[in-house]
Symmetry: C2
Subunit: 169 residues, 2 copies
């Protein structure tokens, strides 16, 4: 790199602004580790996704979630399955992140534009009442121990792939 | 999905095994939040990357890093710049993750196979002593507030993209 091309920080570059939030809803159970919901809120807010359906009463930590804490709607349900059925009726495709007998690699999968992205519990994964509702299941190749990504790490990879496929929203 | 195609969990699917660790080294400063190093260790271990160069004395929490805590070599340096120059001499391309005047979108960037992936501090980014050493700088499009990903979240997206480009190692 020549002297006059030395890179300089651009810490306030305007983001890629979308006219509307993305037509994506996140559905997840109450996580074992409460911090995961707050991390998820910051992630999806940065991706211009503003709606999470979850169970339980887990608090959002604004130090972790940042502005996402105000911008992302957290819809609390007693259980996810009935709400997922409603959303499916309303035209959302249900896409789960899980290792199953019919899951497809995130490398190959082409996301639907309008979808509910369904996450599982850290230990239990996506539960048996929800698995049959899913239209598609995707999994992420893993190459080394502990052979499993943290649930928000996995969601991060999938949300990145979604945004890569729909760079303009 | 028909009845006989109902998905079932496969919680112990064999991972995509690589014959060798990936020719990738991670370089990062001591993070503001200690948990970030432990999260990074689990991430890179799952990606079959087993070497992190860092500064400071931040501890690895094995509850967060899981097996990565034993498998990933943490090389501690007083400062990163001299070590990065050495690695560059040894044939590693230095790829930074930062918003700069000449950074390229992660959507478009083609990773070199053998590289050092350089991360910045949560608040300060990649410091001025390191920026001029970098061969390439990549940034990740962001679409919503707070307009910045957590450093490990951003690293997660970039490591996913690397693995997607080199699915067999």
């Amino acid at each position: 790199m020549s002297e006059d091309e030395l890179p300089e920080h651009v810490r306030h570059r305007p983001p890629t602004a979308l006219d509307h939030p993305r037509p994506v809803i996140i559905a997840c159970p109450q996580f074992k580790s409460q911090i995961n919901l707050s991390r998820l809120v910051r992630l999806v807010s940065c991706c211009a996704i503003n709606h999470i359906v979850t169970t339980g009463t887990g608090k959002i930590d604004p130090k972790v979630a940042r502005n996402g804490a105000e911008l992302v709607q957290i819809e609390r349900r007693r259980s996810l399955a009935p709400r997922l059925s409603e959303l499916k009726q309303a035209g959302y495709r249900l896409v789960g992140l899980e290792q199953t007998t019919n899951s497809r690699s995130l490398y190959e999968y082409r996301f639907p534009h309008r979808m509910v992205f369904v996450l599982g519990h850290e230990r239990l994964g996506i539960t048996a009442d929800i698995l049959p509702l899913l239209d598609d299941v995707v999994e992420i190749p893993v190459y080394g121990l502990p052979y499993s990504y943290n649930v928000v790490t996995a969601a991060t990879m999938a949300m990145y792939e979604y945004c890569r496929q729909f760079p303009q929203g």
